[in-house]
Structures are given as structure tokens and as C-alpha cells.
């Protein structure tokens, strides 16, 4: 057994290399030493509300994942297990270390800690990491798999981990454009099968935008136009020389279509990376256009503009001089209004934290995803 000083270092954030077979024993010793209050002047409380299993394809990504996990651990104390795929095979066995993320609880006094296990493997051993992860899961708590890369839908490790997790978290902004459609389809199927809830941080990034769009139709003056919308124009910011990623825009249109009962009527592609197609609502045709817009700074959604036959328009668009602010403009016959809203891009930790709060499937996302996949697929 290690000396109390070594455990104190672990609770201070230092990783302690341990034998894979002894991980659970080492953690027990860590918390026992903490409970005996031998580790300093503050009582230490271990807290755990879920198992967070993260996959990182490289050491750099693992460092980033570790940083994000430490930021969410205050709100979601968990047993986190980071699997790191190494560049070359040093050993057939995974290497393990334990560490802890601690915060002083807001009421003062106690130090609330959650534990982290890092497993490093290379070569064929990566594919077998699930065998090491499985016995380390805290019983009876939800398992969230955060795949910090484009998920290999048919990969052995991925498939094995899907079997044990309740929620899969990915970020479609990381998907290679040439594979995005296929991967999104795979995720949609996973969601449809219902065995695992699927979260996409790229969808969560749209929360501010969705909120601002929804606000137009809260009051009766705006609500009367919602069922008659006939035009949706979305601009996606992209830098020179880079292909615009339309996924966010497709999610946004997919969300509108699924909430408002619009169905896809036809699709055509136009030049320059733009996409245009027609949907049908109960009131008639809805023309949709997504096109890239060249920018120098922030990529991602640039604007959305909704139009109705009577000339009413509703738009949210980034300010030219401050890309973290948007102009929110409702222009309706005999009225309307405008204001500027702050739209700070959420941190990855904030996005992940939001997903960890979810229990069960996000039906709204899944329906928006299904629509987005349809928009991508028809006409091919």
C-alpha cells in the first residue's frame, strides 16, 4: 500500500501509475485514506453519479479530454475512464494510472472528489480495452461513452462498448466531410434501434440559435406566422479554401421540419457548396437554401432567415463587427422589433455537461437528425 503522502498527491491531481489488476484495490485504499482524514485539513468526500468512459485516439486528445472532464466533474462527479490509443505497441497489456478531480464544495469545508482511471494501450490491445473497462464500471450507475473521434461504426471496441453504455456522445463537427453522411446515418440508426441514447455536441451548439428562433413565435403576434412559413435561408460561415460544413445548418432545418411537420418534397444541389431543396408544410411549399459565406474568423452558423407569404421575416444573423453577437430581427406587417443578443460559443465542457444531464433519448434531436439525413440522402 502506498504512503498517505502519495494518495494526497493523487487528490491534488497527480496521476499515480498502478497495475491494471490492482486498480480497484488502489482506489479503495485511496478513499480509505481520505476517509481517515489523513490527507490534509479538509474532509474529503467521494461523489459519483455516473460512469464516464472516454475514448481518445492520441495522447494529445487524451490531455484535452482530461481537461474537459475536470471541468465537468464538479457538476457531474463520476468515475471517469479514459482509454488512450497509443502510436505503437510498447506492451501487450494496457498501462493504467489513477488520479482524482477535486473541488471545494460551494457550501465550504469539504473537498468533493471524483476518480479517474486512465488506460493506455497500443496496437491490437486497443481493441480489447473493453475487457478492462467492464469490471471497472461502478455498478448500477449510468454509463456514458464519449467517443472523442469519428466513431468507427463497425469497429470491435466501439461495438463492444456500445453494448454496455446508456448514452453515446460524439461531435459531428469532428467528422471528415466525405464520411459525415454515412456516419450520421449510422448514428440515426443507432438512435432508432433504441438500445443507446445518442448525443451530438454539434447539435447542442445550436441551443442558442434554436432558442432565438423559438422566441419569435412565443408571442401571438409571431405565432400566427409559424404555420405559414414558406422560406428558410441558412448561411454557414467558412474560411477561404475550406469546404463549408453544412451539418449545423441541416440540423437546424431538420429541427424546424420535424417540429413543424414539414416533409421533404424534392432536392437539388447547386454550385459552390450550396444546397437547396423543397419541403411541404400543411400550408404549402417551403423553399430551403443553405449556402456558405466566406468569413475570416468564426466558422459555423452565420445566419438564418425565415419568411412567410405576407412578407413577414424573422432573422438571426451574426453582427459584422462582433461575431459573438447576433442581430435578432422580426419584421412583420404593422410591427416587429429587433435586438442584439450575445451568443458566446459554449465551451466543450459546457456542451458535455448538458449531455450528461440528459436521461433517456433526446427525441427532438433524433427527429431532427432523421430529417437531416433525409436531406443529405435524397437525390443521390
Amino acid at each position: 500500500m502506498a504512503a498517505p503522502g502519495e494518495y494526497r498527491a493523487v487528490l491534488g491531481g497527480k496521476a499515480r501509475p498502478v497495475d491494471v489488476a490492482a486498480i480497484e484495490h488502489e482506489l479503495t485504499q485511496l478513499w480509505k485514506a481520505a476517509a481517515e482524514d489523513t490527507l490534509g485539513d479538509r474532509p474529503v468526500v467521494r461523489a459519483c453519479v455516473l460512469n464516464l468512459v472516454a475514448y481518445a485516439p492520441s495522447q494529445n486528445v487524451a490531455r484535452h479530454a482530461n481537461e474537459v472532464i475536470s471541468q465537468v466533474s464538479g457538476r457531474h462527479p463520476s468515475r471517469s475512464i479514459i482509454m488512450v490509443a497509443g502510436p505503437r505497441a510498447r506492451s501487450a497489456r494496457p498501462q493504467a494510472s489513477i488520479s482524482a478531480h477535486c473541488e471545494i464544495d460551494p457550501e465550504g469545508g469539504r473537498k468533493v472528489c471524483s476518480e479517474q482511471i486512465t488506460l493506455r494501450a497500443s496496437g491490437p490491445a486497443v481493441d480489447e480495452l473493453h475487457g478492462t473497462v467492464l469490471p471497472l464500471l461502478v455498478p448500477d450507475l449510468p454509463v456514458v461513452l464519449w467517443w472523442h473521434d469519428e466513431p468507427p461504426l463497425t469497429g470491435h471496441l466501439f461495438q463492444e462498448l456500445l453494448e454496455i453504455c446508456d448514452r453515446l456522445v460524439v461531435d459531428s463537427a469532428d467528422f471528415a466531410p466525405e464520411r459525415a453522411e454515412r456516419t450520421l446515418m449510422g448514428l440515426q440508426q443507432l438512435g432508432e434501434e433504441g438500445s443507446v441514447a445518442v448525443s451530438d455536441l454539434n447539435w447542442s451548439r445550436l441551443s442558442h440559435w434554436r432558442e432565438l428562433v423559438a422566441q419569435f413565435f412565443d408571442a401571438p403576434a409571431g405565432r400566427q406566422h409559424l404555420d405559414n412559413l414558406n422560406r428558410v435561408e441558412v448561411q454557414i460561415a467558412s474560411r477561404r479554401g475550406r469546404e463549408a460544413d453544412l451539418t449545423e445548418g441541416l440540423f437546424l432545418v431538420g429541427w424546424l421540419a420535424s417540429r413543424l411537420g414539414w416533409v421533404l418534397e424534392d432536392q437539388r444541389r447547386s454550385r459552390g457548396g450550396a444546397m437547396a431543396f423543397r419541403l411541404r408544410s400543411a400550408a404549402g411549399a417551403v423553399a430551403v437554401e443553405l449556402r456558405p459565406r466566406l468569413v475570416y474568423q468564426e466558422e459555423g452558423l452565420h445566419s438564418i432567415r425565415l419568411g412567410a407569404p405576407d412578407g413577414a421575416t424573422f432573422s438571426v444573423s451574426r453582427m459584422p463587427d462582433d461575431e459573438k453577437s447576433v442581430a435578432v430581427v422580426a419584421d412583420v406587417p404593422n410591427g416587429g422589433g429587433s435586438h442584439v443578443a450575445r451568443i458566446d460559443p459554449p465551451s466543450e465542457a459546457a456542451l458535455l455537461s448538458g449531455e450528461l444531464e440528459m436521461q433517456g433519448c433526446d427525441v427532438v434531436f433524433e427527429e431532427a437528425l432523421a430529417q437531416a439525413v433525409r436531406f443529405l440522402g435524397v437525390g443521390r
Binding site: A47, P106, A214, Q359, C361, D362, V363
Partner: protein, 528 residues
């Protein structure tokens, strides 16, 4: 509350997205719903409540992006001030009292640019005409005619302000909603509460009136309902068959903080028991509501208050124990007696401590006593509901010293350390032949489980009022039912001999009579 959800459990299959959302784009929205653009008018905008609670709460809502873009606020008070002076005073107050510090200047400036001031006496019709003009001007910029009035004045002005608003045509408007928040105390007895309700209803409909009891905005108070009705294991034992008695404690370590004139008229019965304690009682004792809609929840709460067995005036002395604190020294600091406080009558018989026993005469609680204890200058600030369970039917493990096993206690702590704990007996480790049992506590603390500070109660309640969600506000019949119970006790006390005050030292758990009061029933107060 009651927001449409679009998540489902894995086992239960996907649920149908609820149809009731008026705006279909709101379904499944994870960010808290923002209210429609509106203008808040605070009457008594230079007072303590505005400075300490309302403005810090509004600032924090703005900081978290929970206020609508076109939100504006107008301060209405008697002191002469410019808009600029008003903003500057509130900035100082927010910097001092906000739960998030330091003040973020950009966020404050954005918020403060929409703060305005209107000087007037509360009874002067000209002031209301000026207010109407200001609202028209603000609304021409914001494009919204939704209005929320907040009565943060001394209660003597409530009726007058409501009437003046009505006369000025400000109680309703065609282009938006109009609501009014009324602070406690709501009346000083049943007759005055009924009269205030009558006057308010002459101007506003019940669904426009939001009677605030800030206790209901506290996370743990809301959690009482979640704890009881979202967990399958507690409700089956939440009744007379398993519960021996319930203790509700609302203890404060501070004195009356310079509010002698008010406290002389109120006492702890009116100040704490009629509102906070009766609200806690109704939440702890209520039946499950049919839905989590405002009126469904409030229907069940009011049923509890109606089922409380009245304490007739002639029973008041036997069913209560009163106290008043005397001087003391706590941690080297001299504490003056209540009667020596500013604006308190020398021979005052106002109670600063109250112990009370009541029964809820319904199927669930028949015969189970509820003990309420509230007071000033008690050893610590603590609010809790403790459910004390019956002993096992058979003493299988005799104790060596002849003592009884401790009963199981489930305590719900409202403040300051919000959480829930369960006390149960456990074997003391060791090989002794005589098995020893000791009580141990299983603790759940909000701070350690969720690791972040809960929003202030006023933030939640202001937001709810703007959203039109009245679940956490008190309805007319609730207020009147609570006053009906309390007024009978006040009448009984008025007929009795004045109590021998002072009778407890500041910094103790009340008078000795309070312990005797419990011992008569073979019970004792918990030490929270």
C-alpha cells in the same frame, strides 16, 4: 415547471412528444424557457428588499441570459432620484449583494441601460399617470406591453397601490399580460387578509396575482415534492402507520435586525409560522397532485390546510408555548434582550419563539402530531422538516443501559446546508457478545452531490412570475386557510394572561417550557 419534455427512458420506449406546447418549437428545448419581453415595475424601489434581493436576482438572471432581450424595469418610489442616480445606487447594491461576484461590468451596463425611475407618493394619482406615460415610452421601444408589478413596499400600501393602478387603467391592457407580485406579510389576521384579497380582486383577477413566499423558491422546498413523488420507496411509509410525529423547525440565530416596529405587530407566529411554516407543512403532508400544474399542486396544498384541526381560542395556551429572548453573551458578544431592541415596547409581550402542536385530520395523518418550532436568537440558523418514524414493533436487541433505540428520522434540511439525511441504527463493530447499536446518519447534501450553488429563491420566483407559472406562489384560499388557523390562536392568546417574558436566553433552543411541552407527549425536540 411543467415544461414539455421530449426525453424518454430506454426501457419505456419513446414517448409521444406532448401536444400541449403552444409553440411547437419549444418542445424539448433544454435551455430554460425565457419569458416574453416585459417591463417590471417595482413599487418601493429604494427599499431594502429591492436592494438586497430583487436587483441582485434580476442582475443574475440577466447574466445567465434568462431575461428576454426587451426586458426593462421601472423603479417607483417616493425619494427624488434621476434615472442615473437610481442605476448607480442599484449597481452598488448588486455589487454588494449578488451571489455572483465580482459584478461583471459589461453585463451590468447592458442590464442597467434599461432601468428607469419614477418618483411619486404611492397614493398620488399623478404619479400613476406619469408611470403610464413612462411605460408607453418604454414599450414603444421594446414593442412589448407585458407588465409585471412588484409590491416591495411596506404592506400598508398594498391596497392603495392596487387601487391606484386600477384607477389609472394600468391593471389590464389589450396588448399583453399584466401581473402583480405581492410580498408577505399578506394581511395581519384573517379579516385583513380577506379584505386585502377583496381589494386586489376588485382590480385584478386571481390569475394575475402572485403572492410570494420566498421559501417556495428554495431548491430544497421544491425538492420535497420531487423526493416524495419521484421516488417509489418513500410514499408508502409517508403516513400514520409508520410516522410517529413530524417536527418542522424554522430557527434563526439573528434578532429582529432593527425591525422592532414591524416585529411588535407581528411576532413569530405572523412573521414565520403563518407563511413559511404552514407552507412547509402543506408540502410535507399533501397528497400527490393529479398533475404538476400550478392549480393541481395548490389544490392539494390547500386541502392540507383545510384539514388542519383548528385550535380553538380556549385551547391556544395548551397547544402552544411562547417565548421571548432575554439578554445573553454569545461568543463574547453581548446580545440585548428583545425588550431592549429599538422600537420595542418596554414590557412587550410579543413572542420571539413559538412551539406549536397541530393535527392534520385526514385519512393519511389522523392522530400524527405535527410540531412546529420557530424563533429568533436560537443557537443556529436552520430550517428543516424531520419525519420521525415509529419504533419497530418488537425490541429484538435489548440495550445494556436500559435506553431505547433511537427512532429512524428522515430530515429534510432547507437551509443553510440544503440536503436530506436518514438516521438509522447500525451495529457497532466488534466481537462483543452484547450486541451494541448506534444511530448513524446517511447524508445527501446538494453541495456535494451537484457541486454548484443553487440560484437564489428570488431569481426562480421572478422568472416564474414572468413566465406565468404560479405553482410556487400562494393562492387566495391558501393564504386565508393559513390565516384562519393562526387567527384563532391569536384570539386565544389575547384572552389569556400575558406570558412571563422574557423566558429564554438568546442563543438557546427556547424556554424550558418548550421542552416540558414535548415531554408531556413523551417526545423531545430534535437538536438540528
Amino acid at each position: 415547471m411543467g415544461a414539455a419534455s421530449a426525453t424518454s427512458g430506454r426501457d419505456g420506449g419513446k414517448m409521444t412528444v406532448p401536444e400541449r406546447a403552444e409553440n411547437p418549437l419549444r418542445v424539448g428545448m433544454r435551455s430554460p424557457r425565457k419569458p416574453e419581453p416585459n417591463t417590471l415595475v417595482i413599487f418601493g424601489a429604494t427599499g431594502d428588499l429591492t436592494q438586497r434581493k430583487l436587483v441582485p436576482a434580476l442582475y443574475n438572471l440577466a447574466l445567465e441570459g434568462l431575461l428576454p432581450g426587451e426586458f426593462a424595469a421601472v423603479g417607483f418610489a417616493r425619494r427624488p432620484k434621476s434615472h442615473h442616480h437610481f442605476r448607480s445606487d442599484l449597481k452598488e447594491a448588486a455589487a454588494k449583494h449578488s451571489r455572483t461576484r465580482p459584478l461583471q461590468i459589461l453585463a451590468w451596463d447592458g442590464f442597467a441601460s434599461r432601468l428607469y425611475y419614477c418618483r411619486s407618493e404611492f397614493g398620488d394619482p399623478a404619479g400613476y399617470r406619469e408611470l403610464a406615460g413612462s411605460l408607453e415610452e418604454i414599450e414603444s421601444k421594446t414593442g412589448s406591453r407585458n407588465r409585471l408589478y412588484y409590491l416591495a413596499t411596506p404592506p400598508t400600501y398594498y391596497a392603495e397601490i392596487a387601487q391606484r393602478l386600477g384607477e389609472a387603467g394600468l391593471a389590464r391592457n389589450e396588448g399583453g399580460w399584466t401581473r402583480i407580485i405581492v410580498e408577505k406579510p399578506f394581511g395581519h389576521d384573517l379579516a385583513s387578509a380577506v379584505e386585502l384579497n377583496r381589494i386586489l380582486h376588485g382590480v385584478f383577477d386571481e390569475d394575475q396575482i402572485y403572492r410570494i413566499d420566498h421559501y417556495l423558491g428554495k431548491e430544497t422546498v421544491q425538492n420535497i415534492l420531487v423526493f416524495r413523488f419521484a421516488n417509489g420507496i418513500f410514499e408508502p411509509i409517508w403516513n400514520r402507520r409508520y410516522v410517529d410525529h413530524v417536527q418542522i423547525t424554522v430557527a434563526e440565530s439573528i434578532g429582529i435586525e432593527g425591525r422592532g416596529a414591524y416585529y411588535e405587530q407581528a411576532g413569530v407566529l405572523r412573521d414565520i409560522v403563518q407563511n413559511h411554516a404552514m407552507q412547509l407543512l402543506s408540502l410535507a403532508a399533501m397528497e400527490p397532485p393529479a398533475t404538476f400544474e400550478p392549480n393541481a399542486v395548490r389544490d392539494e396544498k390547500v386541502k392540507v390546510l383545510r384539514a388542519v384541526r383548528p385550535i380553538r381560542p380556549e385551547e391556544a395556551e395548551d397547544s402552544t408555548v411562547r417565548g421571548q429572548y432575554q439578554s445573553s453573551v454569545i461568543s463574547g458578544e453581548s446580545i440585548i434582550a428583545y425588550r431592549e431592541e429599538k422600537d420595542v415596547v418596554a414590557g412587550s409581550s410579543t413572542e420571539t419563539y413559538l412551539g406549536l402542536k397541530l393535527f392534520v385530520d385526514n385519512w393519511r395523518w389522523a392522530g400524527v402530531p405535527f410540531y412546529i418550532r420557530a424563533g429568533k436568537r436560537l443557537p443556529k440558523r436552520v430550517t428543516e422538516i424531520a419525519i420521525v418514524f415509529r419504533q419497530p414493533p418488537l425490541a429484538l436487541f435489548p440495550t445494556t443501559d436500559g435506553s431505547h433505540l433511537e427512532p429512524n428520522v428522515l430530515s429534510i434540511s432547507i437551509q443553510p446546508d440544503e440536503g436530506i439525511s436518514l438516521k438509522f441504527g447500525s451495529k457497532v463493530p466488534g466481537p462483543q457478545a452484547d450486541l451494541r447499536i448506534r444511530p448513524v446518519e446517511m447524508d445527501f447534501r446538494y453541495g456535494t452531490s451537484f457541486g454548484f450553488a443553487a440560484p437564489d429563491a428570488y431569481e426562480r420566483l421572478l422568472l416564474d412570475a414572468m413566465l406565468g407559472d404560479a405553482t410556487l406562489f400562494t393562492r387566495r384560499d391558501e393564504v386565508e386557510a393559513a390565516w384562519a388557523f393562526v387567527t384563532s390562536i391569536i384570539e386565544g392568546w389575547a384572552r389569556s394572561k400575558p406570558p412571563r417574558f422574557p423566558n429564554y436566553e438568546a442563543g438557546t433552543w427556547g424556554p424550558d417550557e418548550a421542552d416540558d411541552f414535548m415531554e408531556r407527549d413523551g417526545r423531545r425536540w430534535r437538536r438540528p
